[in-house]
Subunit: 246 residues, 2 copies
Amino acid sequence: MELTEFGRLIGQESRVSILLALMGGTALPASELAYRAGVANQTASSHLNELTRGGLIRRRKCGRYHYYELAGGEVASLIENLARDLPDRKGGKKRPRIKPELKSARFCYDHLAGELGVAISRGLVAKGALFLEEESFRLPDNGHRIYEDIGMDLAALRLKKRKLCPRCVDWSERLPHVAGSFGAAFAEKMLEHGFIRRSPNNRSVAVTQAGRSFFSEVLNLDLSFLNRQTAVPEEARRDFLPAETI
Amino acid sequence: MELTEFGRLIGQESRVSILLALMGGTALPASELAYRAGVANQTASSHLNELTRGGLIRRRKCGRYHYYELAGGEVASLIENLARDLPDRKGGKKRPRIKPELKSARFCYDHLAGELGVAISRGLVAKGALFLEEESFRLPDNGHRIYEDIGMDLAALRLKKRKLCPRCVDWSERLPHVAGSFGAAFAEKMLEHGFIRRSPNNRSVAVTQAGRSFFSEVLNLDLSFLNRQTAVPEEARRDFLPAETI
DNA sequence: AGAACGTTTCGGTGAAAACCGAAATATCGG
DNA sequence: CCGATATTTCGGTTTTCACCGAAACGTTCT
């Protein structure tokens, strides 16, 4: 894509809202995206069309529903990296505050990011279950007890053509955490075991009681950052969604 | 800055032309930028205003001339990285061809990039005058004969607060080369010694005969990539500047 | 088949903004 | 001080495009 073309696409609030809504990696139907962007369905439809033509998102039809999703992990990291590296305007107003629940734990496309994502990667490294290398992480050749215990099949992951465990430098934390097929599979396992739960509203993630035990006992993580925010006991699907800040 | 705001700024051909014209790191007067963008001075002036307010460029007044330049190396790498990572539109037209003279050797803000930049960094590493590390390069503690011979003062560079020799992953080559205060000082020395010459039209760089000797004899570089393009014996300031592709 | 629903296409409106001519401002060189 | 040059500000025109109402299209449900 052209630089100008890309700029035009992300130079408009509604389209950015759509992209940010998709940053969690889940596909969403057109009307939901229209709702989150705060525009009529027709308007969103044309935006979705442009984003698709630009190669940033793609469409999966499912009956009468049209699900849209990011065109790939590269697009997600492109946007995250961009948001991370934008210069602070000198005299002007500073960057808007990051939502606390996004800062502490969120999905970055298909793997975990935020303080939790960084902490997990650190914990795995500390346990010798992951090695920090120059461009990416590396998994131990013989696997690791931790992965067996949660039922991950590393051999299957190695066969995929996708990068196994590249480093992703966090937008909010500016620290590396593990991405790629391993990062995605690990996050998936965390969901399966009920250690984390996705928010229905955005890409933030809540750590369950079982998750707290797992992370603190198996990975020795310090989860104090989770207590900073006032705990919301039961998160309901909100009818009004405030505009997403990345 | 805001994601949307940034997108709006680079979502317009004239403003992108201005930014690309400044990517070489040299400050240019307003009228020159208007000329390169192909718009009237008044139009360029308003664009320059917006880019300045967005923190992407800054102004240095010099008498009746107003010189504009990129706000810093971070902005340059932001744009280079962005251009590098943009997705290819699937069915659509592919990315425009890179100009050969930009591909082979160019300035990236204040250091050398392109095939020449990558080759130099490689050559320095091969000579033991530079070490490739995780996030950045490293210089030998005792300096190196090469730097003495070209008159570089490494001690002075170490005192600057700017990063000494970070890695910059090339937009066209997708390979690391050396940036930072060292990268800038090295490029400056190459200019001083007449090993390279800047194009007056864009940020491309020509290697002189003396430069060829230096690079091939001192750094053992294979400079065959310089012969791919039809040599332009004397590059004149062109009156008509074709639109810059990044 | 017909109603209901999600989505897209079409057409028109209104607002934003890219652009330039003219005039204002600032500096330089006599 | 005056004319020349570089740049910006102001005003007005034109283009672009975000937006939504209405209608068309496709799928599901009954």
